[in-house]
Amino acid sequence: MTSAEHGHGGEMPRRDFLMVATGTVAVVGAAAAVWPLVDSMNPASDTLALASTEVDLAPIAEGQSITVQWRGKPVFVRYRTADEIKQARDIDATTLPDPKRDEERAQNPKWLVLVGVCTHLGCIPLGQRSAEPRGDFGGWFCPCHGSHYDTSGRIRKGPAPENLQVPAYTFLNDTKIRIG
């Protein structure tokens, strides 16, 4: 073989190198072209823009819960009684399936704010109205596959792997919060 058939001192013949390089560029190019198709299915800008909801807490009585919508999901806001707060705080949190202390979950012990979506398969747990079952731990009960949540929205029994999610929220003043 003459040196003209080889690359500069390389083992690989020039033609093979060109084939591999062309193929690599084609694969990378095709992958890059697929990305816009895939990404277009992610939440769009206007969907992302609906990111915050304000809630007026003044009309809620002690022991009462309301449901508001945030990003299309139900958010539970409960004005907890002293008894419910005691139940949530008197337990050793390290023994729970998803160990979190109530102090980490409620900025103000009276107000519990939760995303009302069961962490198992996304059903809405019961327990917002006084007539509904609240499960074995006085919080919420998911009828789909039987998950029980306590008065801090923590999973205590059933197939759900995690506690009810606490959304990011801030107190704008004593009677108003902004979720998101």
Binding site: M41, N42, P43, T47, K73, P74, L121, G122, P159
Partner: protein
């Protein structure tokens, strides 16, 4: 290629330029040889093809009236039912047709299991069939979401939430599937798009399925190879007419549902418009998903349940290697014959469990039935194939036919 002698000069003119008539004749006509001993269980393949065409035709017309938007979807379906000429008929055909399509395909799959149609040299034919079944499941699920009733919405929520079980990327994948933070308008739009296009993808895989089928021809109840022309008869007219007879029965059953009990397989909750803030008390999938739903719920772990459900289908891909038996047809397998029917019963039990709330005895029954499903494929099938002594298999397809025909002739002469 067949040596077609076309008398009509126009057909001859076409055939010379585009040999479509000989192609059809070779594919499903008088020049396609089929084993002469196929029984009625072999009707279900062509029946599935016809059911697919029925779904596509009714679906195309329904799509002319349906509006894929969360504010209009439910009302547009009600408009189809009340205002569109024969709209009720088309929708009931489409909904009940889907259920019967699954029934036909499940019979087709169990027929393949019984007669060893997944064994050499039909492995790829079998795999393509499973691919078709999985595509059907995806299509049916997305179609069920379109009417945007309570069951539609919550089925979509529960099933898409299965993906949140995946570690690390689960939530990102689920929000990507939704196009938002919950099941919503973007979800409905893309489900409609995919529900419309996937059936045509199924048609494509059906062509590959038939291509693989024609390479080695149909399996048969004896599970032995075609040895020569004495073992076959032309597909047309013999099996075209046999398939037509089966089609008649299929249409009678379909008509019985459509005209007399069109909502028998549906759920009343799906006539309540979707409400993202209230979950129905008891969520149940359509009957054809119940066994898989039971497997999902049998495992007391979210990720574990999802893996088990996926594995229950994936294991079917491995059958060509799992089955260690030397003979194809269960007809000649004195031990496995019983285990086949145990599997059928097990799948029916799983279906019953899937329809029940996950309480009390049903949890235990569901777990045992799930365990048995996997024990069947992972332990029983390889083990029985290994120790079982199969019954003597006939030398050829036509021999037992001739022998029994001869015996019948002797019988008749008496």
């Amino acid at each position: 290629m067949s040596n077609m002698q076309l008398k009509n000069p126009i057909l001859r003119w076409i055939e010379y330029r585009l040999p479509i008539f000989s192609f059809l004749d070779d594919s499903l006509g008088s020049n396609y040889p089929a084993p002469k001993n196929l029984n009625y269980w072999w009707n279900f393949g062509s029946l599935a093809g016809i059911a697919l065409v029925l779904q596509i035709v009714t679906g195309i017309v329904l799509a002319m009236h349906y509006v894929p938007h969360v504010d209009y979807a439910f009302d547009s379906v009600e408009r189809i039912m009340r205002e569109v000429n024969y709209g009720w008929f088309l929708r009931y055909l489409h909904a009940n047709g889907a259920a019967l399509f699954f029934l036909v395909v499940y019979v087709h799959v169990f027929r393949g299991l019984y007669y060893g149609s997944y064994k050499y040299p039909r492995e790829i034919l079998w795999w393509l069939g499973i691919v078709i079944m999985v595509l059907m499941m995806a299509t049916a699920f997305m179609g069920y979401v379109l009417p945007w009733g309570q069951m539609s919405y919550w089925a979509a929520t529960v099933i898409t939430n299965l993906f949140t079980a995946l570690p690390w990327v689960g939530v990102n994948i689920t929000e990507w599937l939704w196009g938002g933070f919950t099941v919503g308008n973007p979800t409905l739009n893309r489900f409609f798009s995919l529900h419309y296009v996937l059936p045509f993808a199924i048609v494509g895989v059906v062509f590959l399925h038939l291509w693989a089928l024609h390479q080695h021809k149909s399996n048969n109840p004896l599970g032995i190879d075609i040895k020569g022309p004495q073992d076959t008869i032309p597909f047309h007219p013999y099996y075209t007419y046999k398939d037509l007879a089966g089609l008649g029965v299929f249409l009678l059953v379909l008509a019985a549902f459509v005209f007399y009990s069109p909502n028998y397989m549906g759920h009343p909750d799906n006539y309540i418009p979707a409400n993202p803030l209230q979950t129905p008390a008891h969520i149940v999938p359509e009957w054809y998903f119940l066994p898989f739903y039971a497997i999902l719920r049998a495992i007391p772990s979210k990720l574990g349940g999802v893996i088990a459900m996926a594995a229950s289908i994936f294991v079917l891909f491995l059958l060509p290697w799992i089955d260690t038996s030397r003979v194809r047809s269960t007809k000649f397998r004195p031990v496995y014959r019983y285990f086949f029917w145990f599997l059928v019963i097990d799948v029916i039990v799983l279906g019953i469990v899937g329809a029940k709330p996950p309480e009390g005895i049903w949890i235990l029954v569901g777990r045992l039935a799930t365990l048995y499903y996997f024990v069947h494929f992972i332990i029983i099938m390889p083990f029985v194939g290994w120790f079982e002594r199969p019954l003597p298999v006939p030398d050829s397809i036509h021999k037992p036919v001739l022998v029994s025909a001869g015996a019948a002739a002797v019988e008749a002469q008496r």
